[in-house]
């Protein structure tokens, strides 16, 4: 039974997603209670699996066809770690959405929301490159539709931009996959990885560039990230939290899997490190000049993505562990920030930072959660951002290469800018505006998920040991491509 469990991680939310409109026919509120149930199930299953796969990755062949002939799922430490994070963040955000999503076609929102997370879970678990493309499309199409959910001017415009860029990216990815199939006659990632050295490097280079470019659109790597600030700032706040916290991380996971496992391409890593730092600096500088709070958070996501890409490109076990840790810390902190900002915007009715004056006294708990999220992203102790950033910096210095040391210096410059704009918002929240406004706190149902995020941020920040074991074995799965090939093909 346990050997089959990874299938359930995809099948249960997928089935329940399409059951939502059916249940909503009989009892309307059923729509909003199904996503928490499905994601809670996923969280429990992922945590059960996590202990098991730390020793041995679990390979599930669908329909009894052994790899490389059938489609297989690879539930290694990386896949199960990501599916646990997706389920955890998805669960908390869906609890938040119980109260937050009131207008519009709510059952469509919940269906698409669950489909988005199914797509993300599928991407991290699959071992077949075309299957990865299909799950990626499930993720992308549902996020295009969700960005336009509010049906206002900004939402529609950014959804159109996102859709056009995303569709071109997916086409490039598909061309790359077609070229790989032409070269190797297989779509199994482990099988391609095994044979990659048997053809000339030039003929592998073209599909690699196409695949990385295609995935890079979704992962928001500079210069392919023009859609991100629009899409993340115009979506409903719960969706912004998922897009920033999960969608782009999954894109980065796919990039890492393709580079490390399939191509084993060491030579392009310095270039990716440079792209990462460029992404970081561009994102942080644009974030600094924003007056719109959600756009500021969106640009800050670009900056964080840059840092994660840089850490992954170091490609030592320290570096990849740091990159994965930074992903976890960014997911928790940025999801928390978008959730808190969602209710502040709900109260003030404006997206401007200046409109938030005096919120610290009006909504003290929400603002406390925002402040903790912001401090964690900047990297202050005792929050989760501190150990993760420290690990990245240590990894860069441990390479003892001038190139990486110079780049991490630039990354720290980016962190200073990040600190400047987050502290500015915190100052507006607490030290501006009138002294005694009435208290209008967010409802309890919304505060609970926020404070679970806060608790996770502080607990992991104080005891990083809780996650480092898992992260270490995830990093070694990404770096040891021979082990991956052996465990899949037997």
């Amino acid at each position: 039974m346990v050997d089959r469990m990874p299938v359930l991680l995809i099948a249960v939310p997928l089935g329940l997603a399409f059951a939502i409109p059916l249940f909503a026919l009989f009892w309307k509120p059923a729509a909003k209670y199904i996503p928490p149930v499905a994601l809670g199930f996923n969280l429990v299953v992922s945590l059960l699996l996590l202990a098991k796969v730390l020793e041995n990755p679990l390979i599930v062949s669908i329909g009894g066809w052994r790899p490389p002939f059938g489609i297989n799922l690879v539930a290694g430490p990386v896949g199960v770690l990501f599916s646990a994070i997706i389920a955890l963040v998805g669960l908390l955000v869906s609890v938040y959405a119980l109260d937050y999503i009131k207008e519009g076609a709510t059952e469509k929102y919940h269906t698409l929301y669950l489909l988005l997370l199914t797509g993300a879970t599928g991407v991290v678990l699959t071992g077949d490159i075309f299957n990865l493309f299909v799950f990626f499309e499930i993720l992308c199409i549902s996020s295009y539709a969700l960005v336009a959910y509010l049906r206002n001017k900004a939402g529609i415009e950014s959804a159109v931009k996102y859709l056009i860029q995303g569709a071109v990216g997916s086409s490039l990815l598909l061309i790359g996959i077609g070229l790989l199939y032409g070269l190797f006659g297989t779509l199994n990632m482990a099988d391609i990885a095994q044979n990659i050295k048997s053809v000339s490097p030039i003929s592998v280079f073209v599909p690699m560039v196409l695949i990385i470019t295609g995935l890079g659109v979704e992962a928001a790597i500079f210069p392919l990230n023009a859609w991100l600030p629009d899409a993340h700032s115009s979506a409903p706040s719960s969706i912004s939290a998922i897009l920033s916290g999960i969608a782009i991380e999954v894109g980065l996971y796919a990039v890492a899997r393709v580079i490390f496992t399939i191509f084993g391409a060491q030579s392009i890593l310095p270039f990716l490190a440079l792209l990462g730092i460029l992404t970081l600096l561009v994102g942080e500088m644009c974030a600094f000049s924003q007056n719109n709070i959600k756009r500021m958070l969106a640009y800050s996501s670009i900056g964080q993505i840059g840092l994660i890409l840089f850490a992954l490109a170091i490609a030592t076990s320290y570096g990849v562990t740091g990159g994965l840790f930074q992903m976890v810390s960014h997911t928790l902190s940025k999801a928390l920030l978008f959730l808190t900002v969602g209710y502040m915007i709900y109260q003030t009715g404006s997206l401007q930072i200046s409109a938030l004056e005096g919120m610290g006294k009006k909504m003290p708990l929400t603002c406390l959660a925002f402040t903790i999220g912001a401090f964690s992203l900047v990297g202050l102790p005792p929050f989760i951002g501190f150990p993760s950033k420290l690990l990245v910096v240590r990894a860069a210095l441990a390479t003892k290469e001038t190139y990486f040391c110079v780049l991490i210096g630039l990354a720290l410059l980016g962190t200073v800018i990040e600190g400047a704009y987050f502290f500015r918002v915190v100052q507006v929240l607490y030290f501006r505006g009138e002294n005694n406004p009435g208290r209008e706190e967010a409802p309890v149902a919304v505060l609970i998920p926020m404070f679970i995020f806060v608790a996770l941020i502080i607990v992991i920040g104080v005891y990083p040991k809780l996650v480092t074991d898992v992260l270490n074995s995830a990093a070694s799965e990404l770096l040891n491509r021979l082990d991956y090939i052996r465990s899949v093909l037997g």
Partner: protein, 119 residues
Amino acid sequence: MSFLNSYIYYVGAFGLILIGLYIILVKHNLIKVIIGLGILDTGVNLFLICVGYVAKGTAPIFSRPGTDSEHMVDPVPQALVLTAIVIGVAVLALALSLAIRLYQHYGTLNLRKIREQKW
């Protein structure tokens, strides 16, 4: 000419892909951009079919007498194209419905005039 004979399908596929990309990058009208996306999709699908095509090949049905596996086309790319077509339909349908909404909000489909959001 022999080069063209053996690679004519690839030339056609990449021609369609480049035409699609050109339309997406250059045209201002959203409907034309969506048409470009459609052409790009078609090009990619044709390319995938080319990868598995065998000249004068038949469908890979093993139970039929008198055919050998040498003259069968590869079925995997056809399965891929089937999936890719379905995905393409979903993306195009969503794009067109967004275009209707965009027109309701702005009264135009010219992407150069719709510039509320900037860096």
